[in-house]
């Protein structure tokens, strides 16, 4: 009996506040837009009984999803979200790998401190970390004044409000998600394997490519998913650092809902985004499982 209560409390909470809301999103994505409050049709009408329920289901259709494919804004936004997320993930790997490698190679007594230095930004506000780049990247900002005074450029670069600023923002804010799994994989790496490779005539560089990199593969894959998945649905970074031409689906959804008040289309956008994300999420979980099996 006690056990049933213990299970029921978190279970019911998640059913009511996670699963049911999601069913509502799917339902509204199949409804039509209406000039009413709430702005969609059909509404659930209990007073009509069974007939009402049948009518209700008859009114649902895939019109909004068809609309998403006909209006180029949406599929362009999905494609450009994938593009931005892929490029930023690769950049994060490029920046994060050397840091993780350096940490794993650092003297043992230094590692907890380095670890804390990587985690510390994660505890500071995400919004502030994104905002900190606005002053650096703007046209009259610090980066431009530095480059101008050094004579490297003669005219200020336009970085803020372009896709480049979005890449920088994502790389910067998600860097800890890349460093930590890669570091965990590199730290476990047995140093004697590298010594063996070198004894057998491998140069240091080829030992890195042939031994270190393959053995850290799982950490790299985990890090890439941990960056790619949230980057796909990002809203804050494209709205603060991106320009009006930066299309990301999270931003489109937000504006569809708040500015256009088109709830059914916003819901359809959300459903499709989730369907796209299911693929990397499943792949990520498989990778984690493989890792657990390899360890256990």
């Amino acid at each position: 009996m006690r056990r049933a209560i213990l299970i029921a409390i978190p279970y019911v909470w998640l059913l009511v506040l996670f699963l049911i809301p999601f069913v509502i999103v799917i339902k509204i994505s199949l409804s039509d837009t209406a000039l009413a409050r709430p702005p969609y049709f059909p509404q659930w009408d209990w007073s009509l009984g069974w007939q009402g329920i049948k009518d209700f289901f008859r009114e649902l259709d895939f019109e909004n999803f068809v609309f998403l494919t006909t209006d180029s804004l949406y599929w362009k936004a999905y494609l450009s979200s994938v593009k931005i997320a892929v490029i930023s993930t690769l950049l994060t790997l490029l920046v994060g790998f050397p840091i993780a490698y350096g940490m794993a190679r650092a003297p043992e007594e230094w590692r907890p401190t380095l670890m804390m230095l990587v985690i510390l930004p994660f505890w500071t506000s995400f919004l502030i970390r994104v905002y900190s780049w606005m002053g650096i990247l703007s046209q009259g900002g610090l980066l431009n004044s530095l480059l101008l005074s050094l004579g490297i450029i003669s005219e200020p670069l336009i970085i803020l409000n372009t896709d480049i600023a979005v890449y920088i923002g994502i790389t910067y804010t998600y860097l800890p998600f890349m460093i930590l799994p890669v570091y965990a994989a590199l730290e476990k790496l047995d140093g004697s394997l590298l010594e063996a490779a070198e004894d057998l005539g491998c140069s240091r560089t080829s030992a890195f490519w042939l031994v270190t990199l393959p053995l850290s593969k799982q950490g790299v894959i985990a890090g890439c998913f941990l960056v790619f998945i949230p980057a796909m649905g990002e809203f804050v970074i494209p709205s603060l650092l991106g320009g009006s031409q930066t299309l990301m689906i999270g931003k489109v959804l937000y504006e569809e809902f708040f500015s256009n008040r088109d709830w059914p289309v916003a819901s359809a956008v959300a459903v499709v985004l989730l369907l796209i994300l299911v693929i990397p999420i499943v792949l990520f979980q498989r990778n984690e499982q493989k890792q657990r099996e390899a360890e256990g």
């Binding site: 998640l14 840091i99 350096g102 650092a106 804390m116 985690i119 502030i128 606005m134 809203f235 990520f284």
Partner: protein, 271 residues
């Protein structure tokens, strides 16, 4: 004894410079007398003064703190329950669905969580305000808590619990006297994690907040959309300062606890 190689020194220095320079610049410019970002017009604390007189920010900060305290407490209770269920109870109807619902919010984009919760709140006709933000934040924060707590639950020796039960303790007593003290560090870090997640969230709060319950991130967001502002720099500096002190204190405390434990273990072995 391993030493730093030149390559590692360079990659770590550059890496940490990238991670920390933007925040350090932000802190420095919060003391700039000029309103412009690039012009240094001397040291001044006037923006901190302006911030203290800005009622809207203070109100928003109060709302955010209220939400975060309620969220983290609720999420810790629910998340610990969920972790216990996941790790200790292997068979019950709908277990797969349950573990799916614990892991799904961790990877779900904020915009989708926010949208779906708002549609629920409208559907059941609750007035939006602090309560709805707390409900929304608790839902995703409890999943993070349960992941943190369950990793600790998996790691510890279950025979301790069995011993307590054999010696006549009730399951509840066993939990309170044996399990809880062992998982306490994870429960505390779960609480802290939930607290920062709630403090930090902009998107879900924007969807679920009502007109009178603007949170600090919402306030900051609408201010910085218009560009860099020295007041926000001052506010950011305060927030960065609090987090830095908090994280350093926590890590020093856990280090001291580890040393203490090592000493106790050594004494126990000797006697």
């Amino acid at each position: 004894m391993r030493r730093f190689s030149a390559f590692n020194v360079v990659s770590l220095t550059l890496g940490f410079a990238f991670l920390y320079l933007p925040m350090i610049i932000l802190v420095i410019y919060s003391f700039n007398a000029s309103k412009l970002v690039t012009v240094w017009a001397g040291f001044s604390t006037k923006w901190y003064g302006e911030l203290m007189r800005n009622e809207a920010f203070l109100d928003a900060a109060l709302v955010t703190l209220k939400v975060a305290v309620m969220t983290s407490t609720l999420a810790t209770v629910l998340g610990t329950c969920a972790a216990y269920v996941l790790v200790r109870i292997h068979r019950f109807p709908g277990r797969t669905l349950f573990s799916g619902m614990i892991y799904a919010p961790l990877v779900m984009p904020d915009v989708i969580l926010g949208l779906s919760l708002l549609l629920l709140f409208i559907g059941v006709n609750i007035d939006r305000g602090i309560l709805t933000i707390v409900l929304a934040h608790t839902t995703f924060a409890m999943c993070y808590v349960s992941v943190v707590v369950s990793s600790r639950l998996v790691a510890f020796d279950q025979s301790l619990e069995e011993a307590a039960l054999d010696l006549g303790a009730t399951p509840f007593q066993t939990f309170r006297l044996v399990t809880l003290p062992i998982i306490a560090p994870a429960v505390i870090s779960g609480w802290l994690l939930a607290f920062t997640l709630s403090l930090d969230d902009l998107v879900i709060a924007s969807f679920t907040a009502g007109p009178s319950s603007t949170t600090l991130p919402m306030k900051i967001f609408s201010a910085v959309r218009l560009g860099v502002s020295p007041e926000i720099n001052a506010l950011s500096t305060i927030m960065i300062g609090i987090v830095t002190v908090g994280v350093i204190t926590a890590s020093l405390m856990s280090k001291r606890a580890a040393v203490q434990r090592l000493k106790e273990e050594q004494t126990a072995e000797r006697s």
